[in-house]
Symmetry: C2
Subunit: 409 residues, 2 copies
């Protein structure tokens, strides 16, 4: 039995992160929670007691449906990593004081690697302090790089977006009867899960992309140009998907090979973009061929207008499962997705010790990368395909997807 | 009464260009045409007799529905401008020979400015030669820059895509509790119709963009930075929509202010992109603020997964109207859209002399650009809003939009 619970969202937005929030909210109420609090901007807002009563923000079943269909963290997010307990005990005392003040007995954090680190530390501290408060992690990341779980909510919709857009870009490239090369840049600093999704463009009605380069293997610029030249001998329109994070054997990012001014993104990370632009320019220079580059950019993580119903449903389920587990006394765990079978696709949830998940990055298995790092295997396609299935239509108002916003009157 | 007709597509793809093709095809059959021929890659393919029988390519009602929902020219496109008749009579003789060979009595060309120039020249030549063959233009361009017609098919879907994506990008920017500036780059070399559509992001659930810069007015870099600094004083997340074609008072493209390597796109045009990237970098440098740039790029014209039903319906209607007009003996005309009223939205088709349309570029009226060129008026929003209404759901197969392709077995 739960009394009051609190939920937060952290890290990069996804198209379905709010479906997990809806799952936590609804399940907590169903299990008898009096209050479901939401922290604004994750643990950072929590420390400033920037806390809302979810029932005041999500007021009806229609609101709940809108929440499931609204991309990008409803409660706001943060990128904030808690210090080691031994380094700064004071901050933990403060957190537990606030939890006590709000009479909270379960804390849910929807996020990726860094967020699971938060759950790990807080649940450790609870054990240290003999506190009965439960801490549960709810997985979320478009990057699909969390350990143990079969996949992460958020990934399926991003993969669906990438697969669908790539099909459209391939079509667009086919209309002219001339030689051209299109390089699509896809997110993924170290893991190629998202870029690999470009392989799903291959269907009965689409030849698919001609090359896929993941960051798991070193990228050879000369081999890339050579292979592109070969491809151009066989067909007119070449489309190549590359990960923003591809690096040369020397460990240099490909975008660093350019002379372009570097700049940092909203989070102080060096902007990776520029990889596709560099390669497209190089193709033009070396092969005298028309080229263009397309960065899928932020849209991969915020395209609420094209989500996977499987993904949005699973996002809801992992939220609900976290609450159910906490109500049964579990703590220090993350909900994981366990694939029972791919065809037919059957997937259940389970719990796993967050200590064995936090801070570990799951990459694409090397045996799923083929042709000297220029393509991916059918295994990867079979793995991804079920995750992009079916749609959840956005609520369209006056021609645009409607979202729910937290600050309404 | 029509015997055989031929139809072609030319210029840049749109999400609904095939709906016009469907309208021509179906209406021609309904009006008793024996053969509906399609030219591959426009007039360029026609000159090589690269001609298909549409009935062999679109074989069922389901095919026709798929065609309406398939983005980017089904028949392929070209960028080919016919020479003046006085400069090269031979090419016209060749065209008319082929038309005679296929016993064609009406020729339909779906395209923008350059395509209307083709219709103008061919219909002029028919008059010169006393040929009874009719030549009709079917308007198409995401740029909405064709004269006389209220708007062009293709624009509504591009505007809907831009308006919806902009809403999602604004939401994405709101999740972090830090100062940041996002610059979105939207297509439009000389006309700001597409960039103006970013204004539609403003809804009950969205504050909208903070600045809109169209190419119709000179762009002042210093004033831009100053205004951005002001905006940042009032709120955290600033989103700015700029046209790729904005120029300084000296006529220099903003993207030319950078040191980036220039490269040409697939059509030999100097790549305009880089405007948003330049401005985002400048914001970071001058204001010490996090920034990012997003290029909507090709997706604006090929996003068949997010189309306007109004647009797709009108695209079909202009195709059908062209055939009907030709069957009644009209030639040398383009079908135009005439708005009867905006609220409720009522629109009809009419015909207009193609001589008065070809090669004229329609820009956004200056009185619809406000605040020293940093915003647009409600009139522009009211003009665009009806054009993005309602959806035509793509046929989704295994999680992705299904298209019809011309080369099937």
């Amino acid at each position: 039995m739960l009394k009051n619970v609190i939920v937060g969202q952290s890290g990069g937005p996804t198209a379905v992160i709010n479906s997990s929030l809806a799952g936590v909210f609804r399940t907590a109420l169903d299990l008898g929670a009096s209050k479901v609090y939401g922290m604004r901007h994750g643990i950072q807002g929590f420390l400033e007691k920037n806390i809302v009563d979810m029932k005041e923000k999500v007021r009806s079943d229609l609101d709940l449906e809108l929440l499931k269909r609204t991309p990008s963290a409803f409660l706001g997010s943060c990128r904030y990593k808690l210090p080691e307990i031994s380094d700064d005990k004071a901050i933990y005392d403060k957190i537990f004081e606030i939890l006590k003040e709000y009479e909270i007995d379960a804390f849910f954090y929807i996020g990726g690697n860094d967020s699971m680190d938060t759950i790990k530390k807080l649940s450790d501290y609870a054990i240290l302090m003999n506190s009965p408060i439960r801490f549960m992690g709810v997985p979320k990341t478009i990057d699909n790089d969390l350990a143990v779980t079969d996949h992460t909510p958020g990934y399926g919709s991003a993969a669906k977006y990438i697969a669908s857009i790539t099909k459209e870009v391939i079509r667009d490239g086919l209309v002219y009867d001339i030689k051209s090369v299109t390089v699509i840049e896809i997110m993924g600093r170290n893991a190629g899960w998202l870029t690999g999704a470009a392989a799903l463009a291959t269907c009965e009605d689409c030849e698919g992309v001609d090359m896929i380069c993941l960051p798991e293997l070193p990228f050879d610029v000369d081999a890339f140009i050579e292979k592109t030249a070969e491809l151009l001998k066989k067909k007119n329109s070449i489309v190549i998907a590359v990960s923003e994070g591809i690096r040369t054997a020397e460990g240099k990012y490909v975008f660093e090979l350019t002379n372009h001014t570097e700049y940092v993104d909203s989070f102080g990370h060096k902007q990776l973009s520029g990889t596709a632009r560099y390669l497209a320019t190089l193709v033009s220079e070396k092969l005298g061929c028309k080229s263009r580059s397309i960065e899928l950019s932020t849209l991969q993580r915020c395209a609420g207008h094209l989500t996977s119903r499987v993904d949005i449903t699973e996002a809801y389920q992992v939220g609900g499962s976290a609450v159910k587990a906490a109500s049964e006394g579990e703590t220090g765990k993350m909900v994981i997705l366990k694939r029972v079978s791919s065809d037919p696709y059957i997937c259940t949830t389970d719990l796993y010790d967050v200590h064995k998940i936090a801070n570990i990055e799951k990459k694409v298995p090397l045996e799923w990368i083929t042709e000297n790092g220029t393509n991916v295997s059918q295994e990867l396609v079979n793995y991804i395909r079920p995750l992009i299935q079916a749609e959840l239509t956005p609520v369209m108002i006056t021609g645009q997807p409607r979202h729910i916003v937290i600050d309404r009157t």
